[in-house]
């Protein structure tokens, strides 16, 4: 995950439009990815991304460097997203528990994923599998895959203890390994040929 240069941050705090544009451009995909993880809807994710970035830039003058700027931003996105979903009457997003387990037997994930595979690209298959995970695991994994975000940073963004983050990530990966078994087997077979 790219942490903005301190010079860029300083210029953005001074109101330099070029620096602000640079910050927005480089952070947009990460913010949008988190927003997609929370809302699961492209239009909602775009709205949330825009709202979060406006608040982020307006508040950047008060940033004093106590934490990484990216961590600060992602926490803002997560909080805004959870608040937005709550106001819409969606089921509450809890980041401190494992959520409802995916029943990998009754859900017949292999057939489900195989069916998706016939009409979708690999990325869509993976996203479909990730969408089956509980909210907390989904968000923890998304942050985890942002270019090796540290567990401590993820814990700060999600506002949960470090061990909870480790548990979310571990269990999320285990479930994905089951859900994506056909795809993983194909890749392993292709790799061994």
């Amino acid at each position: 995950m790219p942490e903005p240069l301190s010079e860029t941050i300083r210029r953005a705090q001074a109101g330099d439009q070029a620096a602000i544009a640079s910050l927005v451009a480089e952070q947009q995909r990460y913010v949008y990815s988190i927003a997609m993880t929370i809302t699961k809807d492209p239009a909602d994710a775009a709205d949330l991304t825009q709202d979060a970035l406006i608040r982020f830039i307006r508040a950047i003058g008060s940033y004093r460097g106590e934490t990484k700027l990216s961590t600060w931003l992602y926490r803002l996105v997560v909080n805004l997203g959870i608040d937005r979903m709550r106001r819409r009457g969606a089921p509450p997003i809890r980041l401190d528990d494992e959520g409802v387990d995916v029943d990998v037997v009754s859900d017949d994930p292999i057939d489900d994923v195989a069916a998706v595979a016939e009409r979708a690209e690999e990325a869509q298959i993976v996203r479909a599998a990730v969408a089956k995970l509980p909210d907390a695991q989904r968000l923890a994994l998304t942050l985890h895959y942002f270019e090796d975000q540290r567990y401590e940073d993820i814990a700060e963004v999600m506002g949960v203890p470090l061990n909870t983050v480790k548990s979310h990530i571990r269990r999320g990966k285990e479930r994905l390994a089951v859900l994506l078994r056909p795809k993983l087997d194909t890749r392993v077979a292709q790799g061994s040929c």
């Binding site: 544009a21 927005v24 995909r29 949008y32 990815s33 825009q50 406006i54 993976v126 990730v130 993983l184």
Partner: protein, 155 residues
């Protein structure tokens, strides 16, 4: 999960496979038009906020607006000065009091509001009078014309 097959860094093989498959798919770029729209909206919103909190720049020559009080003060000085000079001219019958009046007015205005740009009415009038002194006769011409008009109507 089978954790017995480990990579040299201690990570189980299955986990590495999951990472390799999932990582590229979880980072999602918004569509290009959405990216442009978000960037434009953020810049517009933040620029508006900054403009609202930006203090008004002061001390920039040519960009400063002259307060109304300065104009009123100048007008008061002008009236007093015209009255005093006129009465002196009437007493001693001297000449050239109009250029002296404007010179003094400009000196006073400079002291009050700083050097006047040429767009200021007072400086513009002074420049016009320097280049075409006959313009100073226009008020006199208008007074004579008005007097004749009234006289003709009375007749």
């Amino acid at each position: 999960m089978d954790d017995r097959q480990l990579w040299p860094d201690g990570q189980p093989a299955w986990e590495r496979d999951v990472d390799a498959l999932v990582r590229p798919s979880l980072l999602i770029d918004p569509p290009a038009d959405v990216q442009r729209s978000i960037l434009a909206t953020v810049l517009q919103a933040t620029a508006r906020t900054q403009a609202a909190v930006m203090p008004t720049p002061i001390g920039e020559p040519g960009a400063r607006s002259i307060p109304l009080a300065a104009y009123l003060l100048l007008a008061a000085v002008l009236v007093a000065y015209v009255a005093a000079i006129s009465s002196l001219q009437g007493l001693f019958g001297g000449a050239g009091w109009v250029p002296a009046l404007f010179t003094q007015l400009l000196a006073v205005s400079e002291r009050l509001v700083g050097p006047l740009p040429t767009g200021e009415p007072l400086a513009l009038i002074w420049l016009l009078l320097q280049r075409a002194p006959w313009l100073a006769l226009l008020p006199l011409g208008w007074l004579l014309w008005e007097r004749d008009r009234v006289a003709a109507r009375a007749a």
